[in-house]
């Protein structure tokens, strides 16, 4: 079908002063649906944990880290090269469709440019520690005087007030502080065995996009903007509603659940052939249990008195899981997945990144897309998580290099003269890289040695 429908956020311009994962994810999903997102980022200091520009490791350490299965901050070809901040997976997985403008809001020249930008945007999104925005003097009461139609989304970890106001943390710390880390642990283990999840960033991303778009819809009626305060912790809390109510209604403190379900059994993962290969099973009914035993050839489980009913299976879950694990371990994972689905059993392989990228379902739906970053290469990226039947949508532009869009933003959008712009560049306030003084290229020295 021809793309007769415009993307819903075409014509909406958004500025972001965001760091790490959560804030940039909000603008990612807004940009995907048509917003013009301008990333305001300094070259005069390094935003922590955002572009992989600080504490850069050598090529050797980068490779070793990736080899051990840690991909939190990986570089293209495991090589930080000359400009690691343009080659970082954490940044480049969210920043497609965005533009980058070098601007340090903490310096007078940067603040002036930022305030000129505020006149030109519909939305400002930030996820800094609250005190940072206060120090910069760019709180909503200041900005709304410049642009009364401005919608400002603030995403602190815990809130603009309260004892934890200026607490610093990542998504994994927020998941701890709202009870998710505890809840998802091994029932017989401790929280240091669970690994770290950044669920808070994922939930805040879509919730922030929902909030901003809702405020835009409201502004269409009222003509005025507003501030939205959305702490990561509070955007996540409702996702644990039933566990919280179990405490407030029944006084029960939720214990680590691991792969357990309230009533279903089996409801866990089971090993299949090969190293670290697992399949998740979720059996809700007698019919599904029969189908499961048929496929696995475990007639004895079907006949076992203990496993005749859902209640019985749940009561004897440990024994059942053990018997099923014996039966699944000789299967090829993918074969078992499709056989079980064909038989009507809710099953799903535990897929790593490589398996995900080969998914026939995702590929049939065109989920993955290629983007080319000039000088860095062509790679496959995860695409857009929602399909609209009558609005085909694709990734439009690759992740921006730092400061890539300086000129068009300063001169064309903000009305700086060529002389003014050149002066900012000459003084090192605007540019397309960090200075050697700010970021000594130690990793390159290590490589040469």
């Amino acid at each position: 079908m021809a793309n007769s429908n415009p993307l819903p956020l075409e014509g909406i311009r958004i500025a972001e002063i965001t760091v790490v994962w959560a804030g940039p994810h909000v603008t990612q999903v807004l940009a995907e649906w048509g917003a013009d997102v301008i990333r305001v980022e300094p070259i005069t200091h390094v935003q922590p944990y955002s572009r992989g520009g600080e504490r850069v490791s050598s090529k050797e350490v980068s490779r070793r880290t990736a080899e051990t299965g840690t991909l939190t901050g990986a570089y293209v070809d495991c090589d930080p090269a000359e400009e690691p901040w343009n080659r970082n997976n954490a940044f480049n997985s969210h920043s497609r469709n965005k533009r980058s403008m070098a601007c340090d809001i903490m310096l007078p020249e940067g603040k002036e440019a930022f305030l000129r930008l505020i006149e030109k945007v519909d939305v400002l999104i930030e996820n800094n520690v609250p005190v940072t925005i206060e120090r910069a003097g760019i709180t909503y009461d200041v900005l709304k005087e410049i642009n009364p139609r401005l919608i400002m989304l603030r995403m602190p970890a815990y809130g603009l007030d309260g004892p934890y106001k200026n607490y610093r943390g990542f998504g994994t710390h927020v998941e701890g502080m709202i009870g998710h880390h505890w809840l998802r642990g091994y029932p017989d283990g401790s929280p240091d065995e669970t690994g770290e999840a950044f669920t808070a960033d994922a939930l805040a991303g879509v919730m922030g996009a929902f909030a901003v778009t809702s405020a835009l819809l409201k502004r269409h009626q009222t003509g005025v903007g507003q501030q939205i305060e959305m702490p990561l912790a509070e955007a996540f809390l409702p996702a644990l509603g039933e566990w919280i109510l179990d405490y407030t209604m029944n006084g029960r403190v939720a214990q680590p659940q691991g792969n357990l379900h309230r009533t279903h059994a089996p409801h866990s993962v089971f090993p299949t052939q090969g190293e670290d290969q697992w399949i998740a099973l979720d059996v809700a009914t007698d019919e599904e249990f029969r189908a499961l035993c048929d496929v696995l050839g475990t007639a004895e489980l079907l006949a076992d008195e203990r496993f005749q009913t859902g209640v019985g299976r749940k009561e004897h879950e440990a024994a059942l899981n053990q018997a099923l694990a014996e039966a699944t371990k000789s299967w090829v994972n993918d074969d078992l997945f499709h056989k079980l689905q064909a038989a009507g059993v809710t099953a799903g392989s535990v897929h790593d990144e490589a398996a995900l990228m080969q998914s026939p379902q995702l590929n049939d739906r065109g989920f993955f897309e290629e983007l080319t970053i000039s000088g860095i290469g062509t790679h496959t990226y995860p695409g857009i998580m929602t399909k609209w039947a009558n609005t085909p949508n694709h990734l439009r532009t690759p992740p921006p290099r730092i400061g890539e869009h300086n000129e068009e933003i300063y001169i064309d959008l903000l009305g700086y003269s060529r002389e003014e712009y050149d002066d900012l560049v000459a003084r090192g306030l605007v540019g397309t890289t960090y200075s050697e003084q700010l970021v000594p290229r130690t990793w390159l020295a290590t490589q040469e040695r």
Binding site: G176, Y186, E193, A254, V269
Partner: protein, 398 residues
């Protein structure tokens, strides 16, 4: 008080978690949300946990939480007459959120194209495990299997043990929010003079687009050729979850820019002069790692989790306490911010529930409200459509 969604009419034909959470986001912020339930009620009414652990479709915490501010009507959509009523409800809505299996609405003659013929503004969101198209579209999916296939499950847990799902129904909550975002975006296009659309939201695809590690590490694999793996517990020196006097805290000290300050804090200033003290955490020698880790654990175990976090926040470390639900609900921070709504319910009594996600300066959220009883609004909703309630009842439609 003006609300975000004043005047917006949402019809919820969805069960369990994802669709109802999308509906809740609209309802809590002012939309008129009608929830259509089968005669026995939404699946979540039968799941619990229940008030006093006594199964009752009116006291399931999962349902009570997900359906605040909505109106409930019952409808048997399996019958012809029921589907005629359904069509009336859909025609009256701005947004419809449904979670029937792929193709079900089309079989009933209620495809998007059919519905949109005289109603081009309609926004229809279909939530399914795998989407409306593709070779797996008829496959079954649930929270654990969709997390396994689509999400970062292979990374949860220890390298010595099996993978773990993320907590509760987070994949479905996430999918619900993504759906609500899509619906609002489509309504914005309608407000600007454009058309509605049929939104096809797969929980699987929402997991594949999940910012919790998945998109980051998929890109990482694309860049490096290496997949991510579960890590052994305690593998990072003075970093990650550790025991405290009263539980656990997850604090980042080792290898961070405030590491030297952390050595002062834990009473080991002598280690600041060690040649490894300024190195990348991956390059610490075994001896240095053991010295640091021992002193770090010793310092933590003498403090309560929240005290340890406070003291390390004061020197700039990232971190958080690992709270239980009890810790959370009694925590003074959340309490001082008023995140808990007090809900009164005729069957479940009075209880506290997580309230707003958003604090809006111009359109603050309305007062909290409870979830509806099953079919509580049959008379009101069907009456407004001019339908004869007795007739519907005699036809076993409601």
């Amino acid at each position: 008080m003006a609300q975000l969604f004043d005047g917006l009419k949402v019809l919820e034909l969805a069960q369990h978690v994802a669709g109802p959470f999308a509906g809740k986001l609209f309802a809590d912020y002012g939309a008129d949300v009608i929830k259509v339930e089968p005669p026995e009620g939404d699946r979540s009414r039968h799941e619990g946990p229940f008030k006093d652990d006594v199964p009752d479709p009116e006291t399931s915490a999962l349902f009570l939480h997900l359906n605040t501010h909505k109106k409930s009507v019952t409808l048997d959509v399996e019958s012809e007459e029921g589907r005629r009523v359904l069509r009336r409800l859909i025609d009256d809505a701005d947004v419809v959120i449904e979670s029937y299996r792929p193709g079900q609405l089309t079989e009933w003659g209620l495809s998007y194209d059919e519905l949109a013929k005289d109603h081009p503004d309609l926004v229809l969101a279909s939530i399914t495990p795998f989407g409306q198209t593709g070779p797996w579209r008829d496959y079954r999916g649930s929270e654990i299997t969709l997390q396994a296939l689509g999400g970062p499950m292979h990374l949860n847990g220890s390298s010595y043990r099996e993978p773990l799902k993320s907590g509760g129904y987070v994949a479905q909550y996430h999918c619900g929010i993504a759906t609500a975002y899509a619906c609002v975006a489509a309504r914005l296009r309608v407000a600007m003079g454009g058309k509605g659309d049929h939104i096809d939201q797969a929980i699987y695809e929402a997991q594949a687009g999940f910012r919790d590690r998945r998109t980051v590490y998929t890109t990482g694999y694309s860049y490096t050729g290496y997949v991510a793996k579960r890590q052994p517990p305690g593998s990072r020196v003075a970093m990650g979850p550790r025991p405290t006097a009263d539980g656990y805290a997850n604090i980042y000290a080792g290898g961070t820019k405030h590491f030297l300050a952390a050595l002062d804090l834990i009473g080991r200033p002598d280690l600041k002069d060690h040649p490894d003290a300024n190195k990348n955490i991956a390059l610490y020698s075994e001896d240095f790692a053991a010295e640091v880790e021992g002193s770090w654990m010793g310092w933590l175990i003498q403090r309560d989790k929240r005290t340890a976090v406070k003291e390390t926040q004061d020197i700039g470390l990232l971190g958080g306490a690992i709270l239980t639900t009890e810790d959370l609900i009694t925590d003074e921070h959340y309490r001082s911010r008023g995140v808990w709504d007090t809900i009164e319910h005729p069957k479940a009594g009075t209880y506290e529930a997580p309230g707003r996600q958003l604090i809006l300066s111009d359109t603050p959220r309305q007062e909290p409200a409870r979830a509806p009883l099953l079919g509580e609004h049959n008379a009101e909703v069907y009456g407004a459509l001019g339908l004869d309630l007795d007739q519907l009842r005699s036809q076993s439609v409601i």
